[in-house]
Amino acid sequence: MNQPLVDVRDLSREFVVRRRVAGRRRRVRTTVAAVHDLTFQVGAGEMVGYIGPNGAGKSTTIKMLTGILVPTSGHLRVAGLEPSRDRMTLARRIGVVFGQRTTLWWDLPLRDSFELLQRMYRIPDATYRRNLDTFVDLLDLGDQLDTPVRQLSLGQRMRGDITAALLHDPEILYLDEPTIGLDVVSKGRLREFLRTLNRERGTTLLLTTHDLQDIEALCDRVIVIDHGTSVFDGELSALRGRGGSSRTLVVDLVDEAPPIEVPGATHAGSDGPRQWLRFPADVSAAPIVAAVAARYEVADLSIQEPAIEDVIRDLYAR
């Protein structure tokens, strides 16, 4: 029986919040559920995007998965371990990258931070050298190894942080906003690296992000969390095709015309000879295209997939 690497069942985490209420002298204690009855499994080798609006419970989940925070109730196992109880044992098997904070020594060359991590994780020399060579090569950090971290660019530092999280061969890598603040080139490079990592080493990736392009580029599977509970868990394509979302047919007519009327699609706007027709995402575009072409003189046609942002906005809005 193949056990999931991450096994979350009915996981809840409550916080006690003290709040001032007008008319009362003492602050009132209320209990807020940051994560509520959350259930999901991640198998070894998966790349999963974990997304949700601010305050949805993403970091609370990650903190519980890494053992920083004890769950209020529910079942939680990572690599067969109970994170909060076996925190230090688990630490050797996971890698964590917080995009907005570095674990590197600001004033020292990258290499020094890596060497300290080798000792902290007790990585055998051979493994350490092999991993360092691999990552330095893949992430193009060769020239930066002996540069103090404070002189690195944000992109270089992020690559340094990711290397730091991977030196001990973790089975699972948590990435919290790994591409935040990076330019397009750096983002692309980082995504390419993560894909390679997953393909060649089978490292499981759990990625929280606000950058949906990260998800599109990396993740086959998305878990959307809102108000502490999962509102969608499935393939990215399924998320796209989910009810409420629609595709758009952009029609360039030869001449300006009154709004196009064809069965199965609704007119969504005109701009001179260009018109937009909206139709459900789970309906084939072929008959609509055929109907338009039969009745109008068409110069060009294109279909816009639903933007993942819109789909997710729809999900949050529910």
Binding site: F15, L116, M120
Partner: protein, 268 residues
């Protein structure tokens, strides 16, 4: 035991990196160390000036007060150098650094104590050592007194180590309470720089049974200096510093565990 050795090695590894990081700015390092030593020197000069007006303080001559002063300063100096960073728990919580440390396979206390390790406090230790060494030249040494002196300095450091840890843990409950801890650690060290005979008996009782700072220097020094105990406390107290150190450490580690559990169960 083998685990403890590994933890100590990790401590040294982390501290070493911080020392090298500090050396990236040698001028600032040297200035801070010298400044630190000077401040403490002024401290002792104050005592000196006091003695130009009186012969004895609480029945103790200058070299005897210097002995007490040196022992207390050495104790807190060593503890502060080794684990002074533990005072910053509140900051670590606020900045999320504690979370990062919790994802590493090294005990949190080791990481916190070694973090931002700095040798700049060596200034204080050097100054304390000089005063202590000078005072030692007046002591009528016997093998037993040497043993007592070594045990005194080691136990003193451990007592302060425990006090630093225990009182810093308050920050797990209220994040910005490092001043509260200072009142007991640095405050205690300042009190212990004087002969406790100048204080009312209640102070001595408090410093014996509540916050065991009297064991840092007062009781063992009475034996080493061959002085009668002005408060006539049990004679075995003069040999109980290691016991007080062990007890302080035990309490401190329990409070630490409670604090970490509180953090991981409340997330704040």
């Amino acid at each position: 035991m083998a685990e403890a050795v590994v933890h100590a090695q990790r401590y040294v590894d982390i501290a070493w990196l911080w020392i090298r990081a500090a050396w990236q700015y040698p001028a600032s390092f040297v200035m801070l160390a010298v400044g630190n030593g000077l401040i403490n020197l002024l401290d002792f000069l104050g005592l000196w000036i006091m003695f130009s007006h009186l012969d004895r303080l609480g029945g103790f001559a200058l070299h005897e007060v210097a002995f007490l002063y040196g022992a207390s300063s050495l104790g807190i100096g060593v503890a502060d150098t080794l684990i002074g960073s533990v005072e910053r728990i509140g900051t670590y919580i606020r900045t999320g650094r504690l979370d990062q440390m919790l994802t590493k396979p090294v005990p949190l206390l080791v990481q916190v104590c070694a973090d931002q390790f700095t040798l700049r406090r060596l200034g204080r230790i050097t100054q304390a050592a000089v005063v202590f060494a000078w005072a030692c030249t007046y002591v009528d040494w016997s093998p037993l007194r040497v043993v007592a002196a070594v045990s005194m300095v080691a136990s003193g450091a451990v007592v302060f180590f425990g006090l630093f840890v225990a009182f810093s843990c308050v920050q797990f409950w209220t994040h910005d309470a490092s001043e509260f801890a200072n009142a007991f650690t640095y405050g205690g060290a300042t009190v212990a720089q004087y002969p406790l005979s100048i204080f009312p008996r209640e102070v001595l009782v408090g410093l014996t049974f509540v916050i065991p700072i009297a064991f840092v220097n007062w009781y063992p020094s009475l034996f080493i200096l061959g002085r009668e105990d002005p408060y006539a406390m049990p004679a075995w107290f003069q040999w109980s510093s290691p016991l007080a150190a062990a007890a302080t450490m035990l309490v401190a580690l329990s409070v630490w565990r409670l604090g970490v559990r509180r953090y991981t169960s409340t997330g704040s």
